[in-house]
Symmetry: none
Subunit: 198 residues, 4 copies
DNA sequence: GATGAATGAGCTTTCATTCAT
DNA sequence: AATGAATGAAAGCTCATTCAT
């Protein structure tokens, strides 16, 4: 147990480090030696944990998707109306982008932009399904309760993810004159207006 | 004159080809030999037109930004209300994404996701300003005429670009069950609801 | 005693497995982890039995040579003429190549083709002497009895081993249209004609 | 023309060098840097001539097979009897093994012993057919003229190649007490006895 | 005796870029 | 303006071997 838990910890450590490096420097400009060195491990040993760079990348996106999915699920389960949930999701997303920017940056800059890497094994949205599923549940329950307009799911999903992603991009590029939290309220409002039932 | 116009044509040909390759295969997986070969030119000669791969990448994004900016300007100049303009912009954007996907894909997958490359020379939004400027003009005139709510520009900009970009991503990943045009109306409506004055 | 016999069994198990893997996949493309895994043993423990990959290789060839030598000795001891012995040797060799191909394949593909590995410790024919010695005895007794022409030993030895080895190669490459046994008679005849006294 | 002939010369130089190194040190223990250095070329440039180590290996065996085939064809065309041709082939083979040992050593130690490498692209005997074809022609014409016994081709082929190969092996291992030429006559005689019509 | 994580040197291959022609 | 051979640094990955447990 000491054995396996130590190995588990080391694996976790690679995940954290790789996430940081990939999201900061990009997938192709981050090398395995970079990662190994920052973890404090030999290059050879890295491959005892992940059998290739691509496989590491795929495990990372699944890790992130589960994490994000869990955060949204938690919001979904609250006994509040859709408007409040929207605000909570925006707030949570921006908080993550501010405090753990690696995750969202990885999602936006590595996962979405490097098809070649996530090709096989991540067809469609498999690698990202926990997160999408939760968003779908949120939307459907809002429609069911009559709060949200019954529209195509992808129109709604694109709005949510594109909008939030776009803001985080602008933030990451240091283009926004204010911190993300500054925009929270107006964005939540915009989304609510866009989705609410007439 | 014949001289320089031939050179200009050759340069244009590199731009077109590189755009296609970068947007299809990504920046790092496209090599200079790839580009040169497809243009029908030697590798050495390529460097007579662009002094490095990075510089080519930067010229490309400026080329795209000008093109997109011009298309929006043309819409801005029409004597119609903001709601109609929104519909026209969405329509134009999706038409481009469908017919000349290279441009928008390049913007989303190469420009937005490879900081390292566009670092110096494209600080802030310089490389993309023609396009942003036009969007800003659209928004300001809508506010001035009382049609749109007076809100932070970036909240509005992020909505526009993030939303449209997100949809094109989903389309590019072949996740959308319908063609982009199918979503046009509902997306324009969502944007209008999000931005309109109360 | 239980101890050491268990160790002996484990060592035998490594030998058998390594023989199979080396002869199938080649020396350099077979790794110690490959062997250890197939034996059901840890990599570290492997080194308690053989102190290096090269040493394992050398022990294998000696193991094979002893085995082959013993089979020929047994034929040598039969009270029959040289012609019959030739047939018996050919038959035994092909039978082995058909039923335990590892041994002969190892001899042909690993031992004969990887000098670097068998360099020191196997100079000349030390690692293979039991087998050669027996063949020499066969030849000398045939000459002594007047059945075989008195010629240079190596001319005769090369004929024997080269011919049989060549056929097994062709067989291993699946080039022979028939099973080895099909050629047995004509090959024994060819060898006999080549060696017999005028 | 100057261009391409210079490139051709450089390619020839790689072939010669690689042949020497592979046959001396083995396929896996010879590295691309080894080859490049000995040719006086950068590692990168090597790949402008051969797109992989495996492909180099395959081109080498075809090069050798053509060469050997041509030498045998020349003998086949002489207006002499089969016995004389056998002597000529043995002599030619041993001369090559003595003066250009790389070729025959490569054939024996690299081609015959590294299936993995010559797998696809060299199925059956495609990579070696010019040489085999000539030997087949020799044999068939000997049978047609009534000089040689009509037997299975592979029995005869294995005798020829195995025997000669075996001798060269012994020679390469420095096991033969005499130079190859010493054995020439007796070997040609053995082969003739083995193959001749009764 | 047994484990398997860890090391580190080295391998094949790639590619932006240069430069003699 | 045009060619493409040449460079060299660096990348991803492998593997025999060691060693703390």
């Amino acid at each position: 147990m000491a054995r396996s838990s130590k190995k588990e910890a080391r694996k976790e450590s690679i995940i954290t480090t790789a996430l940081k490096l990939f999201s900061e420097k990009g997938f192709y400009t981050t090398t395995i030696p970079d990662i190994a060195e920052k973890v404090g491990m030999s290059v050879g040993n890295f491959y005892n944990y992940f059998s290739s760079k691509d496989i590491l990348a795929k495990e990372l996106i699944m890790y992130i998707s589960s994490y994000l999915g869990a955060r949204i699920r938690e919001i979904n389960e609250r006994p509040v109306d859709a408007k409040t949930k929207i605000a909570a999701i925006v707030s949570m997303y921006f908080e993550m982008a501010t405090e753990k920017p690696e995750m969202i940056e990885y999602f936006l800059r590595v996962y979405l932009s490097n098809r070649e890497v996530f090709g096989e094994g991540c067809e469609g949205m498999v690698c990202v399904s926990p997160f999408i599923t939760e968003l779908m549940l949120f939307f459907e329950s809002g429609v069911a309760s009559g709060e949200l307009r019954d529209q195509d799911f992808f129109s709604a999903f694109g709005l949510f993810m594109g909008y939030l992603g776009g803001m985080v991009f602008l933030f990451g590029e240091k283009i926004l004159p204010e911190p993300l939290s500054y925009y929270e309220a107006s964005i939540a409002e915009n989304i609510y207006h866009a989705l609410k039932a007439p």
